[in-house]
């Protein structure tokens, strides 16, 4: 008669959440991570190993890298918004832009245009990288994703992973597997002094480009007809179609916008690390995906803030959290910290910082 006790529970009792072992474990995990982070941070700060200028350098680098993650994350989030699909090839689409930008950069570097007309040369690099990313993104959508649009199960996702390999191996086959170094601009290593703090020009440049691109994107999404249609499609595809929206065109539009952002990101990323490589899209792609999830996938401001936050954590985190714990060479663990943050978000706030709950019922 043990099950009769279940049926005689007073009304409302079943709605009360019961605490089980998994909840306890989760809380313990949460507390453990928080304790390690706080303990590490306090210890690092007490040791005083880093000066204010060094902290500033970390933060500056973090925000620079973060703005690039944010740009790439926007591509994931917009495609997810309209198709509810993770475009896992997006990091490699970014890589194709970096290669295209590299060829233009080495061209203008050899013929001297980079030295004589730097603005023109930089504009050309960005334009070609963006055009390449847009073209690759649109081709991917048309030939790899659209045929699978209505397929059941994980077919589109598997296909995206396949496209990722195709892009990597195509670039490897065409241009080799070696690391190619990006031509340096004259101002690349320049620094300016702001109130005694050294600010590298290239960081300012990258952040400026990334933030301008994001402002333009925001205006497109919120002030244009197509942008409004994209937001409508990401809420309710069928209802948008009933309003006369051609959903296929909106999907193309989202891929194009994501490609353009990836193009800007690719040049910025290459400027930071000064090299291109066929596999270079993988790590920033995964991290930007993490950033998009962190901000709440499908949310545009979420992708921007998630990217910035991840970049900052990665740059400041190792020194702040790990140094004080006596871990040597903490900087090599920056990827681990970045992904740990992503994992914690997935565990404790799966909808991200700004995202809707995936299972939310439509009112």
């Amino acid at each position: 008669m043990s099950d009769t006790s279940l049926t005689t529970l007073p009304p409302g009792a079943s709605a009360r959440k019961r605490i089980n072992g998994i909840d306890v474990f989760m809380w313990a995990l949460r507390c453990a991570v928080a304790a390690i982070a706080i303990f590490g941070a306090v210890a690092t700060l007490l040791q005083g190993r880093y000066s204010l200028a060094q902290w500033f350098d970390f933060a500056m680098f973090g925000l620079t890298l973060g703005s690039v993650y944010a740009l790439i994350a926007l591509g994931y989030t917009m495609v997810y918004g309209v198709l509810r699909m993770i475009n896992f090839a997006h990091g490699d689409i970014t890589m194709t832009g970096a290669f295209a930008g590299y060829f233009v950069a080495s061209g203008v570097s050899r013929n001297g245009l980079l030295a004589t007309h730097p603005v023109l040369a930089i504009v050309a690099i960005f334009a070609v990288a963006m055009a390449t990313c847009i073209a690759v993104a649109l081709a991917t959508e048309r030939f790899a994703y659209r045929p699978f649009r209505n397929s059941p199960g994980q077919a589109p996702l598997i296909c995206a992973i396949g496209v990722s390999f195709v892009l990597e191996q195509t670039v490897r086959g065409m241009f080799g597997s070696g690391v190619k170094s990006y031509p340096l601009t004259t101002w690349h290593d320049a620094v300016i002094n702001v109130a005694g703090l050294r600010v590298p020009v290239v960081n300012l440049f990258v952040m400026g480009c990334a933030i301008s691109a994001m402002v333009i994107l925001y205006l497109i999404v919120h002030r244009t007809r197509m942008g409004m249609a994209m937001r409508a499609v990401s809420e309710d595809k069928a209802a948008a179609a009933l309003m006369g929206v051609d959903v296929d065109r909106v999907v193309v539009f989202a891929f194009a916008l994501g490609g353009a952002m990836a193009g800007v990101a690719s040049v910025c990323y290459a400027l930071i690390y000064q090299q291109v490589h066929f596999f270079m899209g993988f790590a920033p792609g995964i991290k930007a995906f993490g950033a998009a999830v962190l901000g709440g996938i499908g949310s545009i401001p979420g992708a921007m803030i998630g990217g910035m936050f991840l970049g900052l954590i990665e740059a400041v985190g190792p020194a702040l959290f790990l140094d004080g714990l006596g871990i040597t060479a903490p900087y090599q663990l920056r990827d681990a910290i970045g992904f740990l943050v992503l994992l914690m978000v997935l565990i404790f706030r799966p909808q991200g910082l700004f995202g809707e709950a995936m299972a939310k019922k439509r009112a």
Binding site: R225, M228, D236, A239, A241, L242, M243, G244, R362, A363
Partner: protein, 234 residues
């Protein structure tokens, strides 16, 4: 004849949801399609809008088959659906929802005039034009959905269960609005579970049961028909 459905059938997998349905809609009136839950009314509307493929029969707009048309192209031909459950864009503002309704149009001046007319028709929406539509009450959301549909300047407005989930007083308002819309020159195809109210205002009506049309005739006449009463009350 604007819209003609002839012998249409459609199926979900092996389950036939609609069988051999024929509906004619001429310019000007209110046509009601009533029936119990699951009778195939919404499926019929979604087939007209191009959201569901049909397995047999034809749907014609101005005599042309819609077989090759996508949903947005059907909307652009003036056949506009206000879907069941309202389906407004909750994260867009009220005004943006209305502008989405006019997405198929390019006459900016006239769109702005229509928007102002909607705010006259629904003063509540004017007060809340900048508000995110998802925060409105059910009745207000139905206003947004209706106004959004009208912004397309439809020739035929397909309304799917506009009274669903609304308080009785608000339901009255919705029916008044439908009559006002019709009086202003828009043909309405009204799908309702609230059969008696729908039949009262319909010039012509069809009764659906198990995917088939079992009765048709002038609305008020059907409202008094014994068989209708037996389907709904008995």
């Amino acid at each position: 004849m604007i819209l003609e459905i002839e012998n249409m059938s459609l199926a979900y997998g092996n389950i036939e949801a609609v069988r051999g349905v024929s509906i004619k809609i001429v310019d000007g009136g209110i046509v009601a399609l009533v029936g119990a839950n699951g009778a195939g009314k919404s499926s019929t509307l979604n087939a007209i809008s191009g959201l569901l493929p049909i397995s047999a029969g034809t749907i014609r707009i101005d005599g042309q088959s819609t077989k090759e048309l996508k949903p947005h192209q059907i909307t652009r031909r003036g056949i506009v659906q206000v879907p069941e459950g309202r389906r407004i864009f909750g994260r867009l503002s009220v005004e943006e929802n209305l502008l989405m309704g006019a997405f198929s149009r390019n006459d900016h001046q006239a769109i702005a005039e229509d928007r102002d007319r909607m705010f006259e028709l629904f003063p509540r929406l004017k007060e809340r034009r900048r508000q995110v539509a998802g925060t409105l009450s059910g009745g207000e959301q139905q206003m947004v959905a209706t106004a959004r549909g009208l912004m397309a300047r439809p020739r035929v407005l397909l309304m799917d269960e506009p009274s669903m989930g609304l308080a009785p007083l608000v339901v009255e308002q919705v029916f008044d609005t439908i009559q006002a819309i019709n009086a202003a020159g828009t043909t309405v195809l009204l799908v309702e579970q609230n059969a008696l109210m729908a039949l009262e205002i319909a010039d012509h009506a069809y009764v659906m049961e198990h995917g088939e049309i079992v009765l048709e005739g002038p609305g008020p006449e059907l409202a008094g028909d014994e068989r209708v009463i037996s389907i709904y009350l008995g």
